[in-house]
């Protein structure tokens, strides 16, 4: 098998603050292969966006990576000097941010911003860059692209701006596209258009996508593999089918139970009790233990490691360890 395109190994990212260290990402591992879509799900504060920003090294001050490595085509990009990182950012790995309203510069025209990205990363001249910009706008389905090049972001609607963001991210044909909640700010019908577009472009250009979202519906539609994050750690990972039809971590199960289903019987929802973990006071054991119905003694004192459920599926939960041991014990006895 070929080397994966991107490998994240034991990544730790933290933010020192006056009231203590906020450990936003606490040792996560994953790898991404060409042409695949990896979904990262989790609630606000679970560290999913910080993971993305760590990969691109665009963390807000004073956040920094304290441990681990990020291998992109076998180079550790956490150690690259700034100017080399700048070469990768935008041309090899690019990002679409959540909020299309604030991620574009209001005082430059759409064309200007698109061409800046193209001219920075390719050897195209002004004329060629403009042609490329036009081509990209057409590709992402912006109507009247010629006119749009001369317009300012405020003249475009939310869906159009998100398309411009995607055009900008894809203009240099990156190997990896990170989409940080790309459709959260958009209406469902526009969201459907954008998701369809991303899938089409993935097939056409063959890039890998990291899809960050809290919307399990978006994840189900887009992703090959899924990572579920809680309090800066991976609590479960696997293929989409494994996660949705065979969830093993109590948090994942809780998430799936909390979504209202559109069936005719309106059952009471089963929410996850309690509130999200305080990153300043991380518990010693499993971060989810305080909200978990099946928590055991060991959950409060020891951090669970990821164990293999099957080749497509891993979960970090003591309940699974125990059940696995019981099942094995049962086999031995039988």
């Amino acid at each position: 098998m070929s080397q994966p395109l991107l490998q994240v190994k034991n990544l730790h990212t933290m933010f020192p603050t006056e009231s203590g260290e906020v450990r936003a990402v606490n040792g996560i591992n994953f790898s991404l292969e060409r042409g695949k879509v990896l979904g990262i799900v989790g609630e606000s504060g679970s560290g999913k966006s910080v993971t993305a920003y760590s990969i691109l090294r665009i963390l807000d001050n004073p956040g920094r990576i304290t441990q681990g490595e990020i291998l992109f085509e076998e180079t550790d990009i956490t150690k690259l000097p700034r100017n080399q990182m700048r070469q990768i950012r935008g041309s090899k790995i690019s990002i679409i941010f959540q909020d299309p309203m604030t991620s574009l510069n209001p005082v430059y025209t759409v064309g200007n911003q698109l061409m800046e990205a193209i001219r920075l990363h390719t050897s195209r001249n002004r004329q060629q860059a403009q042609e490329r910009a036009l081509e990209m706008l057409e590709l992402v389905g912006v109507n009247e692209p010629k006119k749009r090049l001369k317009q300012y972001p405020y003249q475009l609607s939310g869906g159009m701006r998100q398309r411009v963001m995607i055009a900008m991210a894809l203009a240099c044909e990156p190997d990896i596209l990170i989409a940080d909640e790309p459709t959260t700010a958009l209406d469902v019908t526009i969201q459907a258009q954008i998701l369809e577009l991303m899938q089409e472009l993935k097939n056409k250009l063959g890039m890998a996508i990291i899809m960050i979202t809290h919307d399990l519906g978006v994840i189900a539609e887009m992703c090959d593999e899924i990572i579920v994050m809680y309090a800066g750690r991976v609590c479960e990972r696997g293929t989409a089918d494994e996660i949705f039809y065979n969830p093993r971590h109590e948090y994942t199960k809780g998430l799936l139970r909390s979504i209202p289903k559109m069936t005719t019987t309106k059952e009471r929802l089963t929410p996850i009790g309690g509130s999200p973990v305080d990153l300043l006071n991380m518990p010693k054991g499993c971060a989810f233990a305080a909200r978990c119905d099946r928590a055991m003694k060991i959950c409060l004192t020891e951090q669970p490691e990821e164990i293999e459920i099957n080749p497509d599926h891993r979960a970090a939960c003591w309940v699974n360890v125990k059940e696995g041991a019981l099942a094995q014990g049962g086999q031995n006895n039988g």
Binding site: V188, T189, G217, E221, S258, M262, S275
Partner: protein, 323 residues
């Protein structure tokens, strides 16, 4: 049948917008909306941003002065003179639990303020008791009353907002996207709280949201809005399973399904183009420029809501039954 709790007829809410020097255009945020809500019932109101659903909620409470139309509560017309009396019976829970609570007031004062305004207690002690029982009703406890809003998480703040709305013992609450700003796991807690309160207190809700999963779960009936008008109303299950308006159909088909197998198999109706500006609504049917089934008549005449099946009203010249 007995009278409706709330009866809205031909509600219009237009806002003047400056479009140039000495020039004004009317933004028709809500343009002729009629519906009824019965006691203890939930009506869901869905639509995309800018369709006027929030404005409907606010006009009902007369946070805006409606341009035209009538709003009857228990059969009595609400106007500027008597609105103060109705405020005790109609309350609102806002979308953003961060900006809708005063950061300088303690939770006890936030929840107690409606009691002060409507003079609902005789002694200080009675006020205190009422505040505590309200906090307990929504799943908080008496220790919380001395704290400030910033000390709470999003879900807890939304509970404070609900407690404040319940302080005056209303019959009807406008819920304006009350769970949109919350995480999925917390969202389910708040939805259950709304459910429980409805059963316990017999509340009626106008539940405004853009998330159809949530609206379907909450509502008995759903009204779908597009550019200031209701285009379809029916029982919640019929809106989801038998939508007749082309806009509703595409809206339903656009919802991401949290189930990978179903998601792979389903056929999505992707709408072309975007919602037109409410300053420049197309003539006739506002949806016609994005519609798959448009005919000549759609540009000429505005379709009215017609009852096509029992309790199922659609405003479309060419409605199609789903197969």
């Amino acid at each position: 049948m007995a009278e409706h709790l709330l009866e809205v007829k031909g509600l219009k809410q237009h806002f003047p917008i400056k479009t140039g020097f000495m020039k004004k255009t009317m933004l028709k945020a809500v343009d002729g909306v009629s519906f009824t809500i019965d006691r203890g019932e939930t009506l869901g109101l869905v639509g995309e941003s800018g369709c006027g659903k929030t404005t409907v909620g606010r006009s009902l409470l007369r946070l805006y002065k409606p341009t035209a139309g009538s709003i009857k509560y228990h059969g009595q017309e609400i106007d500027d003179q008597n609105i103060q009396g109705f405020r005790k019976q109609m309350q609102v829970v806002f979308q953003d639990p961060y900006s809708s609570l005063n950061p300088r007031m303690t939770v006890g004062d936030i929840v107690g303020e409606p009691l002060d305004i409507h003079k609902l207690y005789k002694t200080e002690k009675e006020r205190e008791q009422k505040v505590v029982s309200l906090l307990e009703l929504v799943g908080l406890n008496s220790d919380h009353k001395r704290r400030y809003a910033h000390e709470f998480s999003g879900g807890q703040r939304q509970r404070i907002g609900i407690a404040r709305a319940l302080a005056v013992d209303p019959e009807f609450i406008v819920c304006d996207e009350p769970v949109s700003a919350l995480d999925v796991s917390i969202q389910a807690q708040i939805i259950n709280t709304f459910d429980e309160l409805q059963q316990k207190l017999g509340l009626a809700y106008l539940f405004i949201a853009h998330d159809l999963h949530v609206v379907h779960h909450m509502s008995r009936r759903i009204a779908v809005m597009y550019l200031g008008k209701i285009v379809e109303t029916a029982v919640a299950d019929d809106i989801i399973n038998l939508p007749m308006h082309p806009y509703t159909q595409s809206l339903i088909s656009a919802i991401p399904i949290p189930d990978p197998k179903q998601a792979r198999e389903r056929h999505r109706i992707v709408l072309q183009g975007e919602v037109p500006s409410p300053l420049n609504v197309p003539s006739g049917c506002a949806f016609r420029n994005r519609c798959r089934w448009r005919q000549d008549i759609c540009a000429e005449q505005t379709p009215e809501l017609r009852e096509l099946a029992p309790g199922h009203e659609v405003a479309c010249w060419n409605p199609q039954m789903p197969k």
